[in-house]
Symmetry: D4
Subunit: 249 residues, 8 copies
C-alpha cells in the first residue's frame, strides 16, 4: 500500500464509501505480517519511501518464497538481493515471472510497472572489471525503485584520462554512485569534478592488504573530496537506496 | 568567483565590454594560486558547488592566515575547521571580523552575506551531550554553505520515547545528519522513521571498546536501515557538505 | 548427581543406611571421569548450577559419543551444541532417543524430565530472519536447563514500531536475551524499555564491515543502555546459561 | 519520581484529591526536561529500574552542574561517573553535600537515604592492585543503587591459592562482578567455582599486547566458564547496573 | 666444500692428520644441498641442536619427498609437520617405514633410534578436547628430538579442581608446554603452581571473538605469571623445539 | 602502439605520407577501447613504460578472452596474472600459442619477441619453498617486460650462512626483489649487504599469527635497512613492474 | 596461619619435633599478607622459584611503599619494575638503601646479598640504541634473581657482520634474551646461530606501521628459527624471569 | 681490524705494496666502532651506497652527540632525523656548524661538500599542506645523499587539474616520491601518468578512520598503478634512501 492508495482509502472512509470494518481489514497487517520466520513490513514504502527488500543471504529459499508470497499477495513488486544461483533457481520455478540477474545476484518480480518520478539520472561509475557485480546490484536497485540509471565502467584512477574523457556525463548526473576496490581512490577524484552528491561503495575486490575491502573503505572514509559519503563494503543496494532518496522529487 | 560572476565576465568579453587582457587578469589565478605553503583553489565553487574550506589541523596559524588572506583578497567568505583555541586567537587578531566557535572548533569570516538558495531544512540530530561539538561543526558548516539548519540533541536510543516525541520534526527535514558515539545506533532508528536521506556521523566519544569511534563507525556502516550513508569519525564538516549538495536546488 | 541426590546420599551414610564403601563407589568419579579424550565432570551441576554440556565443534562424532555414554551411564540428561548434521546423524543412530535441532545445531537426550524451578520467563528477542539459528540455540538451552522461554523475532530497530508493539511482552519477562547482527543496536533499545537484565548476543550475520560479528559485538559492548551485558559472537548457548543462573530461585 | 510516588499521584487524581492540572504539572517533565545541553530523563527509574546517572567524561563542569540541578530539584539522588578531580572540585563547591571518590572517579549526592531492597550481596572480585579504581566504581554504583556490596582484591590467577582461600565468600554472593586486566582469566576460574551469575569487567591495565584492555576483553568473551557475561573495558558502572537488575527483588 | 673436499677432510681425520676438534670446526657452517626446490641444511643439528624439520604446508608431496630423500640419503631421521592426509598417503607409499600421525598431522621416519640424552620430562598440558591435535604435535616432536614426554589433557581453568588434582605431576616436570584455546588462561594458572619454565601454545580453537587464536595468544602474552613465554598459534612443533633446547644436558 | 611506432606515424603525417584521416583511424582507440566489460588501454606502454596486464582474479574466462583478443588484434604481447588452472585451460583452447605457468598462476602470449633493453639483472631472492609461486610470478613478469632475471631460493635468515654464501651474486644485481613470508626479515638482511634498490614482497605463507602475510608486511615496512620499499602481499607482479621501471635505460 | 602459629611451628622445627620436610609442606601454600591494597605473597619463591616482584605502573608511590615495607619486614630483597622517576624519588627517600635505575625504570633494594646458583650466563642481545631500556630491565632482573648476565648491543640485522663478529660470545651463553623493535628480525638470525633457548622481546620502538611493537611481536611469533619463544612487548622483566627458570640448577 | 692494522694497511697502499683493489676488499666489512651506546658503522657507505644516518627518536641528545662525534672524527657528513627542537638545540651548541631544519625535524652537518653524481632529478610530490614535514624530510635526505631534488606541493586528487597542470615536470623526473595522507590516492594517479619508479609515502595526517596513516598505507599498498612501491608511514627518509639508490649512476 503506497501513500496514494492510503489517501484514497482514508477519503473513502471519511466519505462513507468504505465502512470502517472494511478499511480495518485492509489495514489489518499494519504494522507487519507474521509469516513464520519474518514480520513482513507492508507499510515501509509509506514510512521510508521505498518498499521492503528481501536480503537473500542467510535465508533459505523456502523462507524467501514465503516472504515473497506475502508481498505479492499485497500487490507489491519484489526485489531480492544477495541471492545465489541455486536458491534463485528454486524461486524462479515457483515465481515464473521473476527475473534473475546472475552477475548482480539479484532477482526482481514486477507485478505493476515501475513508476519513474525522480528528478534526474543516477550515474553508477565503477573502477575495474571486477567491480561489475556490485555496480550491477546498484543499477538494478536504482531502476527497481523508479530511477533513470546509467553506468560508466573501467575508469580507474591509474588511467585518469579515461575518466576525464567522460567529464560531461559525470556532470550531467543528479547523484553519482562510485564503486571501487583496491585503494578506493575513484570517489575522491570524481567528487573533485562534480557538484553533486557522491556515494562511495568500497568493494571486496583486491588481494593481500586489501583485506576484503577494508583498504577501499578507509580510503573512501578519508576522501579529501568533501561531500563524499560511504556505504558498507559491496553494498551496491544500500548506495542505490540512498541515491533514490536523494533523487526523489 | 562563482558561476554567475563567470557568466557575466564571459558575456562581457564576448560583447567587447571587457578586453581579453582584463578578463585574463581576472582569471589569472585559475586553476589555483600558490601562497607558499598551499595552492589556493579559487574556482572550487565553480567546479564543486562550494568554496574551498581550510582544514586547520596540521597547519600553523601563519599558514592558515596566508590562505585566508588569499581568499579574502578575492572576496570569498572563509570557513576554517579543526581549529584549536590558541591558533584561533592569533587569527582573530589579524582578522577582527572573524567569528570563533569554540565548541565546534570552527572560525568563519563572512565578507558577503550567505545566500540561502536551498530546498529545505537540514536537521542535525545528536545522541548525547558529548556529541555536541561534532553536531555544532555540522550546523555551522551547513549554515555557512547557505542552508537552513536545525538541531535536536540528547535523543539516544536507550530512551526511545525522547526521539519518537520529535517524529514530526524529523519527517519535516529534507536531509538529516545523525551524530552518535558509543554504539552508533541512532541513524538506524532515525532512518527507519523518515523517507529522506540520512547521513550518519560516528563520534569518537565513548571509552574502552568504543576504540575512538570505530564501534560507532562499524555500527553505522552496518545499519539495517537502507539509505543511510556514512562519513568519517567526527567529520561533522563532511556530513554538512554532503547534505548541502543534496539540499541545493 | 545433583545437590538433592548428594544430600540424600550423605544422610544415608550418616544414618548408617548406606555403607561408606558403597557411598565411595557412587562418588568414585568425583572430581571427573577420564574417557580417553576428555575428563567428564559429573559434579558440575553441584558446583555450577547446571550440568556439563558438550561443545560439538572440533570433536569427532566418536569422541562426542564416548562423552555422552559416560554421562547417560550416570543418568544425566545431555545437550550437545555446535553439532553439524553429519555428526548428528551418526550420533542419532547410536542414541535413538536423542533429538536433533538442525537450525539450532543442537542435540538433546533427556532421560529424566526437565524440572522447571525458575522464577519467570526468559524472553529471546531477535532482530532478523538470519539471526534465527543463534536465537534457537538460546531457546533450546534455556528450556533444557529448566526455564520457561519464549521468542519474539524479526523486530530490528529500523522498524521500531514492530518492537514497540510488543512492549508488554518485553516487560513481562524476568530476563531478556537479545540477539542481533549487523549494527547490533537492538539490545540498547530493549534495555531502555525494560527494568530487567538484558543479555546481548552479537551474531556473525552481515557482510562487508560487519566483520563476522565484530560490528555487532562492539555496538553491544558500547550500549548506551546501562545494564546490558554481552556474550561472545553467536553464543546463544552462553547467553542461555547466564540467563538460567539469573532466573533460578 | 519513582513507581510508588507515581501510583500515589494517580490514585489521588482518581480520588479527586489532586486536580488534573496539578497532576499535569507534576508530570510536565515527562518524558524529559531540556536543560540546554541535555534532555534529563526523570522517569528512567520508572522505566528501567534505576535513576539516570551522569557520565562525566566529555561534559564540562558547567553542563554537569546544570543536569545535577535539574535532578536535585526533583528530589533525586545523583551519581556522576568518569569525573576527573578538577571538575569534581568545581562541582563540590556548588553542591557542598556531594561526596567525591577520587580513586573511583565518582561523585554522589544523596538527598534521600538509599533504600536497600535487594535479594543478596553483590561481590566485587578484583585481580590486581591496578584494577582497584574500576572495582571501586562498581562498588560505589552498586551501593548507590541500594545493594549490599563487598570486595575481595588482589586474587589473580597466578596465585590460585589466594582465590581458593575465599571460596566460601564467593559462593555466598548472589551476583559476582569480576574485574581483571592483563589476560582477564579470573572470571573463568570464578565462574567455575560458583553457581551464580558472573559479570566480567576487563580493565585497561597492562602493557604491550594488552592493548588497553583488548586482551582481557577477548579473554572474557571467550571464557570457558558458561554463564559469564561481559561489559565494556573499565566499565565498573555498567557491571554494577547489570548486577543491580539481577539482585533486585 | 664439495664432496671431494669432504672426503679428503674425513680421510685426514681418519689418518690422524687432522684432530677431530679442528674438523668439527671446519664443518660447522658447511653450506647446504640444493634439491631443486630447497636448500637442505644437513648441519643444522650441529649448529642449532636439532635436525632440520620439513614444514609440510605449502609444499607438494613431490617436493617433500625430494627433501626427505636428500635427508635419508645422509642417514638422518625425518620429521614432517603440517601434513594433510592426502599428501601423507602419497609419501608413505614411497617411504614404507614412515609413520603417519593423523591427529597430529605429522609424519616421522626413523632410520636410527632416537637417543635420549635430556635432563627431565617435558609435560604437555592441554585445556580441552579440541586442543588435542596441537598437543599431539608437541608430544611427537618432543619425543622425536630425544625427550621423555607426558600428557595431561582436558584440565581447563573453569574446573580448576581437575588441574589441582594433578599438581604433583606438574611439579615433577622439567619443562611444561601448556596448550589452550578460547581465553588461553591455563598457562597463567600452571605458571603460578610450578617453578619450571612454561611454554604457552595458543590454539585456534574457539568461535566468534576467539578470532582464530588471537584471544588466547593475547591472553598468554599478558599472563600475570612471570616466566611464561609464548609461541605462535597452533605451533606445537615450535614449543617442543624450545622445550628440547631447555631440556638438553 | 609503442613510442617508436607513434613517432613514425606522426612524422608520416607531418611529411604528408599519411593522410590525417588514416592517422586518425590508427589512433582511434586512443585513449581506450571498450570491449563490453573493460576499457582496454592500448597506450599504457606509451604513458607508463609497460603494456597493460590483465589481472585474472574476479574476471570470467570469457571476459579475459575478450580483452586478450582486443590486445592481440593490436599486435600486443599479453600477460595474464592470478589465473587459476580452470580458466587457463579454457583460454589456452582459444589461444593455442599461449603459455600457462601453473605454479606462478600466469599466462603469457608473445606475438613479437620480447626486446631486452635494460641496464642489468633483476635478482629474485626467496626465503622458503612455500614462497616459490610468488617468486615465480615476479620472475615471469620481469622477463615478459624485457629484463634479464635470476633466482636464488630457500635462503631464509635462520640459516644466514646460506645467504652469505651467495653474497657475490647479490651484489652483482642491479635491482633485487626479495620474497618472504613468516617474519619477513630477509629484505632487511639483504638490504644491509647490497648497495642497490631492494623491493620487498611479503607472502601470505605462514600460520597462526602470520595473519595471511600481515606479519611479513609489517616486518618489511619497518625494515631497519634504509632503502627497502614494499609492495602488497603476494604481489610478485607489482614488484617486477617496479623493478622494470628501475632497470630500464 | 598467623604469626603465632608460625612461631610455634618454627620452634617445633628448631626443637626437632617437626621434621623440616613436614614443615616445608605446611608452609608451601601459606596464604598471603593483606596490606590494604594488595595480598603480598611471601611464599612465591618457595612455589615459583623467584620472589614476588612489584609492578610499579598503576600503583601509587604510597601503595608501592606499603608492599615494600611488608616485604622488607620479612627480610626479602625487593625489585620494583615500571617505575617512573617521580615515584622512584619518593620511594628512595623512605628507603635510603634502595637503588634506582633510571634507564631501566627499575628499583632494587637488596638486604641480603644475591646468591648465584645458576648454570651459565644469560646473554642479552639488543638491536638498536633505542632498545636499551628494555634490555636494561632484563639485565637488572636477571642479576637480581641470581644469574650472571652480559649484554651485546646495537647489532641489528641490517649490518649482519656486527652480529657475526660476536658469534663466539653468542654460542657461549646458556640462554639468550634477544631484544628488538622495528621488524623484530634479530631473534630469527640469532636463533639460527646458536643451539640454546632464545627468548625474544619485542620493543615498542619504531614509528608508523610499527604500531607500538606489534610489527616486532608478529615477526618474533612467526620466526623461522624453531625454538624461539616470545614475551610481551617491552617485557624485559618477563624474559629475565623465564631465562632465570631455565638457567637455574 | 684495529687502528694500527689500518695504519699499516694504508701505508702499504701508499707505498704501492698493496694494490688499491686488494685494500678495498680488506676494508669492505671492517667492523664497527663502539661508542658506549651504539656500534657506529663507518663502512656502511662502502657496503650500502650511503653513510650511516642517526635516527634521533628514542636517543638522548648526549647519545646522539657521541655518535656524531665518532662520525665527524672520521670526516663523515652527518644527518640526524626525527629530532625534536629541544634536542636539536642542545646539539647545535656542541656542533655550531650543524644546520637544524625544524619543519623536517632533521639536522645536517656537512664537513665536506656533497658530491652530486646521480642520473636525474628526484621529484617529491605532496598532497596537502599538512604533508609538508614528511616531504621536507625526503627532500633534505635526498639532497644530503647527493641528488638533485625538487618539490611540487598541495596537489591532492580532489582537484585533479592542479596535478595535471604539472604533468611535464612529473614526466621529467627520474624517480618520484609521492607523499600523501588521508586516502593516499595520489601515488596511484601519479603512477598512471609517468613511466618512472614511484615511491609512495603514507603520512599520519588525517583524523578518525585515518588511523594515524593506516588508511593511506593500505591505499598505497593496493594501488591500481603497477610499479608503485611503499615505505613506512611518515618515512620520508626511507623513501629518499630508496630513491637515491635508484638515481645513482
Amino acid at each position: 500500500m503506497n501513500p496514494d492508495q492510503l489517501k484514497i482509502l482514508l477519503q473513502a472512509v471519511k466519505g462513507g464509501d468504505t465502512p470502517v470494518d472494511e478499511a480495518l481489514e485492509q489495514l489489518r497487517h499494519f504494522p507487519s505480517q507474521d509469516v513464520g520466520c519474518a514480520q513482513v513490513d507492508h507499510h515501509r514504502e509509506l514510512r521510508q519511501g521505498m518498499p521492503e527488500v528481501i536480503f537473500g543471504e542467510g535465508k533459505t529459499a523456502l523462507q524467501i518464497a514465503q516472504i515473497m508470497r506475502a508481498m505479492t499477495d499485497k500487490g507489491s513488486n519484489v526485489l531480492v538481493t544477495r541471492l545465489d544461483s541455486v536458491k534463485a533457481g528454486e524461486i524462479c520455478i515457483q515465481f515464473p515471472t521473476a527475473v534473475h540477474y546472475e552477475e548482480a545476484r539479484c532477482l526482481t518480480l514486477e507485478q505493476k510497472s515501475v513508476e519513474q518520478n525522480c528528478r534526474g539520472t543516477i550515474l553508477v561509475v565503477s573502477a575495474g572489471t571486477s567491480d561489475l557485480p556490485v555496480a550491477a546490484e546498484a543499477l538494478i536497485t536504482a531502476r527497481f525503485l523508479g530511477n533513470r540509471a546509467d553506468h560508466i565502467y573501467d575508469v580507474g584512477v591509474a588511467g585518469i584520462h579515461r575518466l576525464l574523457a567522460r567529464r560531461e556525463q559525470l556532470c550531467a548526473a543528479s547523484v553519482l554512485i562510485v564503486v571501487a576496490g583496491m585503494e578506493g581512490a575513484l570517489p575522491s577524484v570524481v567528487g573533485g569534478l562534480v557538484d553533486k552528491p557522491v556515494i562511495a561503495v568500497p568493494t571486496s575486490i583486491g588481494y593481500g592488504a586489501a583485506f576484503g575491502g577494508i583498504a577501499a573503505l578507509l580510503g573512501m572514509l578519508n576522501s579529501c573530496a568533501a561531500g563524499v559519503t560511504v556505504v558498507n563494503i559491496d553494498n551496491g543496494f544500500g548506495a542505490a537506496c540512498a541515491a533514490n532518496l536523494i533523487n526523489r522529487m
